[in-house]
């Protein structure tokens, strides 16, 4: 099971003076069960990339497919395939629209043609998943909730679709650290329990380092780097900075400690490991 891009190029407004080539000959396979972070500066082409992955945009050249079904086709199969790839947009709380939380979460499954009981079951399950108590929240207006709660309602709406793949655009933008951790706890639970594939667009190197197993760096419409976050941050620092990206704090702290003469292993990729190493060097328990 995988989403595949084969030699995909995408051009906005072709044949006009505003023509812009946003993706250039990208080939890529994302398997179910992967957790992929996509990073790149504004205008690098990462949003165009993920919109080609879920069939919101269709390639100008090349093919985007899910399990061999071309996402650009007009067949029933292609429509089904597209509905298996859920997307949570940036600031999803801005897309809530219904009068109650229940109605908002039920909108997707109802459109999939499920009957009343099936929809109801999906709504219960999805709300439970994102930690919104059914009795407390189902009847409330989504607009009376806090920002973090609204974002969880929006995520519940996508979970209720029961997708095989989930694309998240900047899931932590504008959230305080506590709400960010809560949102990611839900995303990770979804990832682990259902084994879905996750593609996360982010400007946060910390999010990419902490959660993703694979990282794509998009630069000028191409995939500049494709690798494990730990390895990329260790080995590709120069190219990352050139692409307008950054490295996570733990790498910077390790570098600062090394610069002052502390001898540390080269492959430190998370804060717990670094703390343990520092304690060891300083003879602390």
């Amino acid at each position: 099971m995988s989403i595949k891009l084969e030699h995909v190029s995408y051009t906005y407004m072709p044949g006009t003076p505003y023509e812009k080539k946003a993706l250039k000959d990208v080939s890529l396979e994302i398997k179910k069960g992967e957790f992929v972070a996509v990073i790149g500066h504004t205008g690098s082409g990462k949003s165009t990339l993920v919109q080609n992955l879920n069939g919101l945009l269709h390639p100008t050249e090349g093919i985007a497919s899910l399990d061999g079904i071309n996402l650009a086709d007009k067949t029933r199969d292609a429509k089904m395939a597209r509905s298996r790839i859920g997307m949570v947009f940036q600031y999803p709380e801005h897309q809530l629209f219904a009068e109650t939380v229940y109605e908002d979460v039920a909108f997707g499954p109802r459109n999939q043609g499920l009957d009343y009981d099936a929809v109801d079951a999906r709504v219960h399950e999805a709300m439970k998943f994102v930690g919104l108590d059914f009795e407390t929240f189902a009847g409330r207006s989504p607009f009376s909730l806090s920002g973090g709660q609204m974002r969880r309602v929006a995520i519940a709406g996508v979970v209720a679709l029961d997708p095989d793949y989930l694309i998240l655009d900047e899931p932590s933008a504008g959230l305080d650290p506590g709400s960010r951790n809560a949102v990611f706890a839900e995303v990770m639970a979804l990832y682990k329990k259902r084994g879905i594939g996750i593609v996360m667009v982010t400007h946060s190197m910390e999010d990419a380092a902490q959660f993703a197993k694979r990282m794509l760096v998009v630069y000028q419409g191409r995939i500049l780097i494709d690798g494990k976050p730990g390895e990329v941050f260790l080995k590709e620092k120069r190219r990352l900075l050139e692409a307008g990206m950054d490295i996570p704090e733990v790498y910077k702290l390790a570098d600062a400690l090394r610069a002052k003469g502390m001898r540390l292993p080269n492959d430190i990729t998370d804060a717990k490991l670094l703390l343990a190493e520092v304690k060891k060097r300083k003879g602390l328990k």
């Binding site: 790149g40 500066h41 504004t42 205008g43 940036q90 409330r140 207006s141 607009f143 009376s144 806090s146 920002g147 973090g148 900047e170 933008a173 504008g174 959230l175 305080d176 650290p177 506590g178 709400s179 400007h203 190197m205 307008g244 990206m245 950054d246 704090e249 733990v250 910077k252 702290l253 570098d255 600062a256 400690l257 610069a259 002052k260 003469g261 502390m262 804060a271 670094l274 703390l275 520092v278 304690k279 300083k282 602390l284 328990k285």
Partner: protein, 276 residues
């Protein structure tokens, strides 16, 4: 010296969509002095943005008072002067662009208050030079990067003659390069032009660079002080949904394990030096 922003006993109550009376701010006393760089941090819903909107009379006190350079925001005759003196920059750069060309966008403010053509020209040129966007003068703003768009918004407040700029999470939607562009622009304006800066952010790394940090919690000011005093309170910050910088957390953990470290370590360099 008199404060630019003087808040006394501020309370803000609003009615939500379910017709409940919600107290968003309570017992706020705060003075911000000319030339200060103040960061405001706090969890979502803690009242940061509500407070910021009182600084240029976008919101008005339910109780208490807010004075800008001595002018009360409740006095209707003061409002336009206050809004010239305190410029606002919001989170989403795309919501703040009004014109199709960069220099026209920056000129929009001064045009609206009847500044003469020559003076507008001078102000726009100055403002674009200060934010380092001169070469994009004749570009279309919607084709710029997020960081560039935010710098155009900052230039707009400068052209209006603002002495104080309030930024509400200006970097939340930006990539790492855009984030550092905005912070360094504001630090430069603060140092070189003595612009008073109020900077709301979820990025503790940004707040660390302010002169003073104000921590909001449930509509009140929970603590305030120099970054090194605030950010070494690792436990208290975590309890209210915030996070201390990594170096401060390390210092905290190492002390618990018996390391003797000086107080107030918040940067990587400070920690590395202390452990040398």
């Amino acid at each position: 010296m008199d404060p630019v922003i003087d808040v006394q006993g501020l309370k803000h109550v609003y009615t939500d969509s379910d017709n409940n009376q919600v107290t968003a701010l309570e017992q706020i006393d705060l003075q911000i002095m000319p030339g200060e760089f103040v960061a405001i941090i706090g969890a979502n819903g803690s009242g940061k943005s509500t407070l910021a909107r009182h600084f240029n009379a976008l919101l008005l006190p339910t109780e208490g008072s807010v004075k800008i350079n001595g002018m009360d925001t409740l006095e209707e005759n003061n409002i336009w002067k206050i809004r010239q003196q305190v410029g606002m920059v919001f989170q989403n750069p795309d919501n703040q662009i009004v014109a199709a060309i960069v220099e026209e966008d920056v000129a929009f403010g001064p045009e609206n208050i009847g500044v003469s053509t020559d003076e507008i020209r001078r102000r726009v040129d100055d403002a674009l030079r200060i934010v380092d966007m001169e070469e994009y003068r004749t570009h279309a703003p919607h084709l710029l990067s997020g960081g560039q768009k935010q710098r155009i918004a900052i230039a707009g407040t400068l052209a209006l003659g603002s002495e104080c700029i309030v930024l509400d999470e200006p970097t939340a939607m930006l990539d790492p390069k855009g984030r550092s562009e905005i912070l360094s622009t504001m630090k430069r304006l603060n140092k070189e032009k003595n612009i008073t800066v109020v900077y709301i952010t979820h990025f503790m790394k940004e707040a660390m660079q302010a002169d003073r940090v104000i921590v909001m919690c449930r509509g009140r000011i929970m603590m305030q002080g120099a970054p090194k005093d605030i950010f070494s309170r690792v436990d208290e910050l975590e309890k209210i949904g915030l996070e201390a910088p990594m170096a401060a957390k390390f210092a905290y953990e190492l002390r618990k394990s018996g390391a003797k470290l000086p107080q107030g370590i918040i940067t990587n360099e400070e920690l590395a030096t202390a452990l040398q």
